[in-house]
């Protein structure tokens, strides 16, 4: 029933937008097949992504992204709802639910896997409901500017409900999260940037990772550095995230978790791109909030683009987790856009 109501709401919203000026509806979908060592090979329907953009006026625009995905049952997730007021390229105000402008990948690639260079997102920037450790989605206000001056300077400043909040309508505490980021494009197709995120979780709140009640308040400070070059021959994206959890009384201790990834791709031609992705998450010893196991992952893959709206990706992945047997997975993914 809930899903039906959500679908009807989405269609009503879409119908209203179609009547608005200049509305475009696009979609993305993917089908995966994976073979896991000592497991069973399986086919899987990936996410089915509906993407709507609409220009309401000369300065006001709308962007919506809704995803149908399987999570025990088929569920409908509104992943992005952004109302933007554009003054110029140097100042835009956005309100709604958006991807956290932390690092590069999270704001460059969203839910349509067609566009991202690999089948899965790097571990550091995995979605919250896939076990990700970073706040990927935020609800709030986002000020940004881009391509300012000779260095094509850009900035992001977001005020949001933060970790643990209901992503749509409410926050579970009075502490608002702040994301701030700066980036430059010194060369064509090269972006270098730094960003940070701060938030505070109260004692007795529910731990969004484990579901347990927090024994102490936690101040969260995250810092990220990124470099991305997407040239006609070489592709390179690297991000390094530091997450500092300062536990208040009665625990009173600090713990640092480091998550990084590096992606390399070599475009043999417009169609074929072999690539390599390295992931590493080093959980702090006393970081009870994450309570994760340090791991690293090596992914070797090849991408074949039929055109810009269809591609096939094949990946072989080896994951090593401390004190756990290494895992090997081969995955084939066919992604389309329409």
């Amino acid at each position: 029933m809930k899903l039906r109501r959500q679908i009807i709401s989405i269609f009503l919203l879409t119908a209203c937008l179609i009547n608005a000026q200049d509305t475009k509806i696009r979609g993305f979908a993917n089908v995966n097949s994976s073979y896991r060592e000592q497991g069973k090979g399986a086919f899987a329907v990936g996410q089915y992504d509906n993407f709507v953009t609409s220009n309401i006026t000369d300065r006001i625009s709308f962007l919506g992204e809704t995803v149908f995905e399987f999570d025990e049952h088929f569920v409908l997730d509104v992943e992005r709802v952004i109302i933007k007021y554009e003054v110029d390229n140097w100042f835009e105000i956005k309100a709604g639910k958006f991807h956290n402008p932390l690092g590069y990948w999270n704001n460059a690639y969203h839910h349509g896997t067609l566009i991202q260079p690999t089948i899965s997102r790097p571990d550091a920037v995995k979605f919250e409901d896939e076990g990700g450790i970073l706040p990927i989605h935020l609800t709030g206000l986002w000020l940004s500017g881009h391509d300012i001056g000779k260095l094509k300077f850009g900035y992001d400043l977001a005020l949001s409900n933060g970790i643990g909040a209901n992503h749509y309508v409410a926050d579970d505490n009075d502490n608002k999260a702040i994301t701030a980021g700066l980036h430059i494009k010194p060369l064509d197709k090269l972006e270098i940037g730094v960003s940070g995120y701060s938030d505070r979780l109260n004692r007795f709140e529910s731990n969004v990772v484990s579901g347990d009640t927090l024994k102490s308040p936690i101040s969260i400070a995250q810092g990220a550095f990124h470099i991305a070059y997407l040239g006609s021959k070489f592709e390179f994206i690297a991000e390094d995230h530091y997450i500092l959890h300062s536990y208040g009384l009665p625990v009173k201790q600090d713990a640092t978790t480091n998550a990084l990834f590096a992606y390399f791709g070599y475009r043999i031609n417009d169609k074929v791109t072999p690539y390599f992705l390295y992931d590493n998450i080093d959980f702090g010893k006393n970081d009870t909030y994450f309570n994760g196991l340090t791991n690293q992952k090596f992914t070797l893959g090849i991408r074949y683009a039929f055109n810009y709206l269809a591609n096939l990706k094949l990946e072989f992945c080896r994951q090593e987790i401390v004190n756990v047997k290494p895992m090997h997975v081969a995955t084939l993914s066919f992604a389309i856009g329409f």
């Binding site: 300065r59 390229n89 417009d270 074929v272 090849i302 074949y304 081969a330």
Partner: protein, 177 residues
């Protein structure tokens, strides 16, 4: 400190990896071979246009742009004209000769990359999707009737209801190197 799993013998691990690699080698080879056998068409058919020209609506007060500024406009880095009107991109489809020239000469990328670039920019919420056209006449009509619109056409198609913008002081850009 990184502590890799050590209880499994190296031999067993290699055996498992080789087993999986055997399964995927065929698929990898197939995809690679298909890509090499059917590489993208490197030949660009520019014969239909010797020179291209940049057109805007007659009401647009801008007369001159540098090639760098033009690239910034078509990349969506510049969103507004000096009079603060929104820039609306009108682009010939990448499958047309003028579309290919727009990608190669203005954006410095392949036609396929141009399509992908615009898809990504729209998906990231950075730009409004460009209006794409298969016919030069349709593009001309759109620019003639839309304030803030900018497009690229073959210079021989320029008409009185459109304004040509000078790029680096010249009204035409050579479409051949």
């Amino acid at each position: 400190m990184w502590q890799p799993y050590r209880s499994q013998s190296v031999f067993k691990m290699k055996e498992n990896m080789l087993k999986i690699l055997r399964h995927i080698t065929f698929l990898f080879s197939f995809v690679l071979c298909y890509g090499f056998i059917n590489p993208p068409d490197k030949k660009q058919d520019f014969s239909a246009a010797n020179s291209i020209t940049v057109i805007v609506n007659l009401s647009n007060p801008t007369n001159d742009l540098t090639k760098k500024q033009l690239k910034g406009i078509f990349k969506g880095e510049v969103l507004r004209w000096p009079d603060k009107k929104k820039i609306i991109l009108a682009v010939m489809k990448s499958s047309t000769p003028i579309g290919k020239i727009t990608a190669e000469k203005i954006l410095n990328m392949s036609a396929n990359d141009m399509d992908q670039y615009y898809l990504m920019q729209v998906f990231q919420g950075k730009i409004t999707a460009p209006k794409t056209f298969e016919s030069t006449e349709d593009l001309k009509n759109f620019v003639a009737n839309t304030q803030g619109a900018i497009g690229i056409i073959d210079q021989s198609n320029l008409s009185n209801n459109l304004k040509a913008i000078k790029i680096d002081g010249s009204e035409a850009i050579s479409s051949v190197k």
